[in-house]
Amino acid sequence: MPPTLSEYDSKQLLREYGVATVREDLAADPEAAVARATQIGFPAVLKLCGATIAHKTERDLVRLGLADAAAVRTAAVDLLARKRPEDGDAQLLVQAMVRGRRELIVGLVRDTQFGPCVMLGMGGILAEAMRDVVFRMAPLTLQDAREMLGDIKAAHLLDEFRGEPAVDREALARILVAVGRIGIEREAVVSLDINPLIVSGTTPIAVDALVEIAES
């Protein structure tokens, strides 16, 4: 498997392309983590973050809903204790807790036939089970991206739904266009997952992301 960027660096790339991401910052130790969490606001999320850590959930490296400074401090100590030698210079990643019932997945893949292709799917972490996904070849026009939203089988979930407002479709379309641009402009990017992309209020926000890069 190709090497990856850390979660933080993956989202740095997205931020460069104007994709809204969760508020987050890196911290080297528990005290720094508490300071960052206080700035970002509670409840907070804490993760162990490094270029070689691709599957945090499987390794139990994610702590959600940390209500106060004490909870952050405890979680930070615990996560650092789980650090392995092969994790290299892994750090703590402090994030805001993004709430929203609707989770999406956006991705980039390089097809042998058609080159960089952008994917939009429903379900976030359930996406692989739901298989409600659509693709377009990069680069995408804004109109291509708008039509992707309509091609999702559960497209009605993007409308007003159980008390949640309609998703800002233009914002979502711009994310798809941006991911297509990454595929065209960044040849070293082998693949990209934004998973989940959580709809918070009306706004889609990249909460977790993973970029695979070509071996140099």
């Binding site: 893949v109 036939q113 693709f135 377009r136 998973n195």
Partner: protein
């Protein structure tokens, strides 16, 4: 004339054709090619080449290409074995041939040595300035010059569809559908190995060809996917491209560590690209043909608002279900339209969409209904069901022991005339208002039994008569999707 159209002219509009490898044995490709070219009345000169100079099919043949007067043939149809073909191309070039269709096999489909021979063929054709189609292809047709240069016979009626196929037998299927329905072709070509000219090149040409209104393609594999998509987008910006793709089922999950990668099946990616490029993708060969034939014979709708006109209930109910499933907008009847229909039909009609006449029609009802429904500003397309039932009744009467007495002759003749009128009225309303009107009836299959006047009249109007409502709905849905694609990109 664009340079691209000019470049393809010797292939599809040749003034004369050289056929190499002509044999006096009726089982050989070279014999079949000459036979098919002669039979369909090719308008140019034919120069059969046979190494013994034998008379074949009453035609004099030429021993040597060099003996053919220069400047009279611009296409070579090559049926000689692969080993002879480099020399053949050179000899053809010397008498002014500008395009070649190579039927012969033994090229890249036959292993490494064949692949090298194919490369050499491409190189020499390029050096000689010959446009090279094939090798290993079934042939081509071009109805404008009545050319059936094919080693298998299906030759379609003339029309506005042009097709390219990566499989000769799918080309035959398209041609056969054309023969059966009457909705015909401008051009058809089997790409063979596509050594020099691939699917993307033909699509690019069809997009510019003034004799083509609809491009239809059968695809199995692409050498350069992105180039094909570019050409497809250029085509659909001007005219529809209908595509049937074989080999879409996945060969297994890709090895992928990313979620996106594990979801990126070939078929999902291809489906998305078709939407992006405005390609009308069909799942089956008959769907591909019917959609292309619909594009070729119906105006593009401005929207998805559909009204169903039916002679009886069940047809309308099933058609309504099909419309909803296909994402068409089965509108509630506008008040003024309902009032108009009230004035024409007895009160038992359905008073909604589908407009079920419930047997209430009299002599002039259907033409009037068709015109007022199709012409209504809130209606984008109409599906008309139940055509031909009166003519079917007439057929029963005509074979009855009581015929022609008891007034049966007069009523049978009336029924047949009426059904013909309805079909003509549907086509006339469509043309007058510039909206699609699709007629569907299984009586289209009566051709061989007795020739029901209604589907016959639909065919005579140059349109397709659909064998069922759901096939009409499916074709219409493709038209609506393409129309929306065009509107979203360049205002239609």
């Amino acid at each position: 004339m664009s340079s691209l159209v000019e470049r393809f002219r010797p292939l599809f509009y040749p003034r004369g054709v050289v056929i190499t490898g002509v044999s006096s044995h009726p089982g050989k490709f070279g014999f079949a090619a000459l036979h098919n070219l002669l039979c369909h009345g090719y308008e140019g000169e034919i120069f059969p080449v046979n190494r013994d100079g034998a008379t074949v099919l009453d035609q004099r043949t030429w021993r040597d290409i060099a003996e053919i007067p220069p400047g009279r043939a611009d296409l070579a149809f090559i049926c000689t074995p692969a080993v002879a073909n480099i020399e053949t191309l050179r000899a053809c070039a010397r008498i002014g041939v500008r395009a070649a269709f190579v039927v012969s096999g033994g090229y890249s489909e036959a292993g490494e040595e064949g692949a090298a021979a194919e490369q050499e063929l491409v190189r020499v054709a390029h050096e000689l300035g010959i446009l090279l189609a094939g090798p290993n292809g079934q042939g081509l047709v071009s109805t404008a010059v009545k050319m059936c240069a094919e080693i298998v016979p299906p030759y379609p009626p003339p029309g506005r569809i042009s097709t390219v196929s990566q499989s000769g037998n799918i080309l035959s299927s398209y041609m056969n559908y054309g023969q059966l329905t009457g909705v015909g072709f401008s051009k058809g070509i089997s790409a063979g190995n596509g050594a020099a000219l691939g699917l993307a090149d033909y699509v690019e040409y069809f997009a510019e060809d003034p004799d083509t209104d609809v491009a239809l393609a059968y695809l199995e594999g692409l050498r350069d996917g992105r180039r094909f998509v570019e050409r497809a987008i250029a085509c659909t910006g001007r005219k529809p491209l209908v595509l049937l793709k074989g080999g879409v089922t996945d060969r297994g999950q890709r090895a992928a560590s990313s979620h996106t990668g594990s979801l990126a099946s070939n078929d999902r990616i291809f489906a998305g690209i078709c939407r992006q490029a405005g390609i009308s993708r069909a799942e089956t060969v008959e769907e591909a043909y019917e959609v292309a034939a619909t594009f070729a014979t119906q105006p593009l709708p401005r929207g998805r608002r559909v009204v169903i006109l039916t002679a009886a209930g069940g047809w309308g109910v099933l058609c309504a279900d099909a419309c909803v499933r296909a994402g068409l907008d089965l509108i509630a009847l506008p008040e003024d339209l309902r009032t108009h229909i009230d004035a024409v039909l007895p009160a038992r009609w359905s008073r909604n969409n589908p407009v079920d006449m419930a047997g209430g029609e009299t002599r002039d009802t259907i033409p009037e209904l068709l015109d007022c429904i199709v012409g209504h500003e809130g209606v984008d397309a109409v599906i008309y069901l139940g055509l031909g039932i009166q003519a079917a009744q007439a057929n029963v009467m005509k074979s009855s022991p009581f015929f022609p007495g008891h007034g049966l002759d007069r009523i049978a003749e009336f029924h047949e005339r009426q059904d013909r009128r309805y079909a003509e009225a549907a086509a006339a309303a469509s043309s007058r208002h510039g909206k699609p009107v699709l007629c569907a009836t299984e009586l289209v299959y009566t051709d061989r039994a007795y020739g029901n006047s209604a589907p016959l009249a639909v065919a005579e109007s140059g349109r397709l008569c659909y064998p069922s409502a759901h096939r009409a709905v499916n074709a219409l849905a493709h038209l609506c999707t393409y129309a929306a694609y065009r509107q979203a990109r360049n205002g239609g």
